[in-house]
Symmetry: none
Subunit: 415 residues, 2 copies
Amino acid sequence: MKAGIVTIGDEILLGQIIDTNAVWLSKELANLGLDVSFILTVPDTKEDIERSIDMAFTQAEIVIMTGGLGPTKDDVTKKTIADYYKIPLEFDDILFQKISKYFDFRQIPVTELHENQCLMPKKCTQLENNMGTAPGMLFKNDKGWLISLPGVPYEMEWIFKNSFLPLLRSSYPQLGNIYFRTIRTAGMGETSIADKINDIAEEIPEGISLAYLPSLGHVKLRLTSKNNISQIPVVNDYVDKISARLGNLVYGYDDISLEETLKRDFVSKGLSLSTAESCTGGNLAHHLTSIAGSSSFFMGGLVTYSYQLKNQLLKVKNETLVEYGAVSENTVLEMLEGLLDSLKTDVGIAISGIAGPGGGTPTKPVGTIWLAWGNRNIQKTKKLQLTKDRLKNIQYTTNYAMNSLRLFLTELELD
Amino acid sequence: MKAGIVTIGDEILLGQIIDTNAVWLSKELANLGLDVSFILTVPDTKEDIERSIDMAFTQAEIVIMTGGLGPTKDDVTKKTIADYYKIPLEFDDILFQKISKYFDFRQIPVTELHENQCLMPKKCTQLENNMGTAPGMLFKNDKGWLISLPGVPYEMEWIFKNSFLPLLRSSYPQLGNIYFRTIRTAGMGETSIADKINDIAEEIPEGISLAYLPSLGHVKLRLTSKNNISQIPVVNDYVDKISARLGNLVYGYDDISLEETLKRDFVSKGLSLSTAESCTGGNLAHHLTSIAGSSSFFMGGLVTYSYQLKNQLLKVKNETLVEYGAVSENTVLEMLEGLLDSLKTDVGIAISGIAGPGGGTPTKPVGTIWLAWGNRNIQKTKKLQLTKDRLKNIQYTTNYAMNSLRLFLTELELD
């Protein structure tokens, strides 16, 4: 069964607020096994709302509309829907008593605006709202169900779960659950991964879809099965097959982040970590400490932006800096050595590069970044050649660094 | 002129990712003075994309479509649009050379999938993409312009600004009659600011709107005049009036960030800065180094997550850590002293707190954060009492720290 979401509000169209209601609703509907066939945002005018209803029922049988149910004059949804279905509004005494009680309790005087809220379409199912004064409305028509909910997120969510879902489930008991798994990878681009698993992807049976979700240095692969519980083991089989092919490109599954994976691996091996950052300027340390419990393996880091601090804190030799430059394999290796000497952690990582947009030279263009990581016995190095975009370079390098540390621990295991 | 946004992607309809592209684009289009009349999200199938084009041009003349331009088989946008306009695809040699060069540089082999990317619609204007391999496309038709952009945010944003906007502006020179100014403040909440300038806000004439855009520790005030050039001096007058009232809450105007303001102030005074972070874990250093040229004042920082490093690197006394705890005024003052001793910068800042979600105690609940900042002669301290949300606490504290440093430099001036 197909569902659609219509959100009403000029703030969304002006880019002033994020449409979190659509995100929340689409997740809920997808988890019910409904196909969300569109999300549409329109201005809060009569014409736009009418047009959106016309369009919505060409694509969906369950249409959820949010916004425009409050008492202020820019909220026109209720009147528009009632007119659209030619249902008169009438004063609802029970609702008025409820609203009056609500405001009395809060010692707020009931005004004409509140009384307007009690004008309700005669033929609609009111959806109780325990979080505010405007109830939701369900209009059944020959094309499907139109559900109008307030735009305030916690009111909308409460009505959806408590007043709407029970009605939906009792009318459509066959509604099932969607099943999806995510394989998280780092270290290879979307295209190369697609190439690598092409033959497996080709044989994935009807009803299961595979999607690639790339970000800087990461690619997530998502396998989804809709409305067919018997396919759950098949999805899991393909997760295993693809994972086996991708080997140690895979760092985790479903909701686990690379940061979480690193924490788990360091903690399970009882190893400690420290960082020495130049061009990433603390972003790696920030990522490592963005998750709860990071103090269980991350001891700290140095952000040595200047030559002088590389020399003073990390004992990088002046000759090295002069002969090879701050962005060189020699420098990052000395940074790593100095870091392990000073902070005395089991594992360390050092980064130095030209994040840009300025500062490049013919032999070391903007985006040249050196990394060194390892322990007392084994050190690895890598030169990255990235873009001219400062923030992208910083984030890509941070992701690359975390993945290098992950692989380093894996390799330690093999020894 | 009306614009519309179509975003393509199952991940959005499944509620798995937030449609940040639509937010970014609607803001950009609104700033150009275009009316965004809808945002529509559809699945990545041929039928849905075709239908979205049909619908889009009933409501808008400029339609921006994002997503579905990558090389993997779930990306169908290019083929669908070409079919829709009955334009054949042909192999683009120049693009192939560009893509080959891009991958050669990164030592990645060029595959068949990359070659598919070089099949481009014959009659369309390619929009250069300096951030990736898939160019944007502009299709002019009798109903308006259809612009197809990749879904990867930084690629989409780059193409929009650098390749599309110049074309749009040259074809529609009347665009951009919107005039707006932004006053950027830090250190007071939205409601208190609104209270403070209420009388000024009341007298702002018709045609100019005032909006409050709050974020963590910051509030931006935006004054907008649409399509009325004669109001420009009036907008500027109100910017001055409001700024005079708000005093040193104002840190900048329009696009200048707090990071940029700090750099400007430190550089103009010839002062250097270093940081000692515990609970913010490098996020402050990351923000300071997120802008080009930060090495002109920021020397470096220490992320001292463990007790041991606070003691070793910053010479915080063990007695202090034991008696007052790592999250205390005494500890941050000693951290600051140790920082200035070791890194020898003119100004420093030290932060220690409980970011959460765990680690709180009855006397120091989660969200307790101490800061100390200053120079050799003057030190200031502040205790923040924040939330249970780790990332929110880290970001709020980072913003608070930057604003404290800004105010510190202002006060130095007054001495």
